[in-house]
Symmetry: C2
């Protein structure tokens, strides 16, 4: 008896027309039945934002590639997952994949990332989930070089399963397929963005700012995602949404809070 | 020699005019020198969103209460912290407090919360930070009953310090001061929102959705924030932004990823 194909939900944060998500749809269609619910416009850096004070629109769009159905959504990446699971899909998907993001979501970027927040939302809802990102912000980034690895990681995830509450954050270096040294399991590097605001004036004399910044990594650990990516490896960080700093509870209990 | 007063950055996600932040400013002014940088409109459920494809405005507003200066910002709560630290404050603040939120940020709400994301952003930037939330969504919620506890927790935090990478998530039950049983150090309860989308039609016949949902807590642990709050206690969860699921790394290393 042949097993049924897995049902795979695909989303992203660069918008439904981005080359990264189109590549992901193609690869996933080789593995399972694909439903796409992705933002109708770029939603980068939206973090885990949801739309609670505004309406949400969902449009069935003409499917390209090999997806069973595609929908664009007016909301954030997390809204897409919520709408997909509750309004579109007839059963809980076997996997949710998000991306392939045009740009890095390694290290602290995971917390600002719409791509990863969509995957984390799926994880919260009990769906195994993976976020894929390529370290190239270019719209015409080379996704061909990483297709083979995206497929391999997805098949291994379906075969092995993920623990409850764990989501995979996969980042690819900007390298040709034959330059990639392999896949490393990593921890999130302790790095951050140091902001540099660009202060300008409107034509009407009012000050405004553009947020820009410089990524600074003081964490030289060879077990980090940054190290792996800088040394030619694909990084996989298992991510969780229990944010409790369990190691600090004991110290907090020694404070004089109840006197 | 008298020590200098601590410099305290105050922000929130309900907007600079919300009674919750006004109470927080009053309490913080009893402790230190207060600078306020808060959104010019409600920014609830914005998670860790930042503004990268749009301009940011900052307006110095006439200060009320006892703050040294107050600014409203057109961006998200995380934008407020970034602008405060990089464009407004002459030195790194000794503490950043966010809130008091009108509504719960316990359990999984921490991940959707603009209030907590602002505090987490401060933590990423190396500033000790606390998010305060009251389990009452009402604009006219009773913040008087919790003033004493907000002050106590803040003073203890300044006295004891926080570990690098740890932020406090403080939630208050909706109770009178004399009904509150005390303060408990907790872990984040494993709970989630189960969505119920309200599907409607525009006057022009187009479907749209309102996101709503029901909070479901299957975690009966007496060490959770949900348990504490339901049993009359203030909950404090230490929160971290290293999202690595360290416990799952070993299992991932057993997968056949590099064959």
């Amino acid at each position: 008896m042949k097993s049924k194909k897995p049902l795979i939900l695909v989303t992203n944060d660069d918008g439904i027309t981005a080359p990264g998500v189109r590549t992901l749809i193609e690869v996933m269609s080789e593995i399972g039945d694909v439903i796409v619910v992705a933002p109708d416009k770029p939603q980068s850096a939206m973090g885990h934002a949801i739309t609670i004070n505004n309406t949400l629109y969902l449009n069935k769009v003409s499917k390209e590639d090999a997806a069973i159905a595609e929908y664009s959504c007016s909301g954030t990446p997390v809204d897409c997952v919520k709408l997909a699971v509750n309004e579109i899909l007839k059963r809980k998907p076997d996997l949710c994949v998000s991306g392939i993001n045009h740009g890095s979501n390694s290290s602290i970027n995971v917390i600002y990332s719409g791509t990863m927040s969509a995957a984390v939302e799926a994880g919260i809802e009990g769906i195994p989930a993976i976020g894929f990102s390529l370290l190239d912000y270019d719209w015409n980034a080379d996704f061909e070089s990483i297709r083979k690895f995206v497929k391999k990681i997805t098949l291994e995830t379906l075969a092995n399963g993920l623990a409850k509450g764990v989501i995979l954050n996969v980042n690819f270096p900007k390298l040709k397929e034959n330059q990639i040294k392999g896949i490393k399991i990593c921890r999130q590097a302790n790095a951050l963005w140091v902001e540099k605001f660009d202060k300008r004036q409107t034509p009407f004399g009012k000050d405004y700012y553009w947020l820009s910044g410089e990524f600074v990594n003081h964490d030289q650990g060879e077990d980090t995602d940054e190290w792996a990516l800088q040394n030619g490896y694909i990084s996989i960080v298992p991510v969780q949404f229990d944010l409790t700093a369990h190691h600090f509870k004991q110290q907090l209990n020694s404070w004089n809070l109840n006197e």
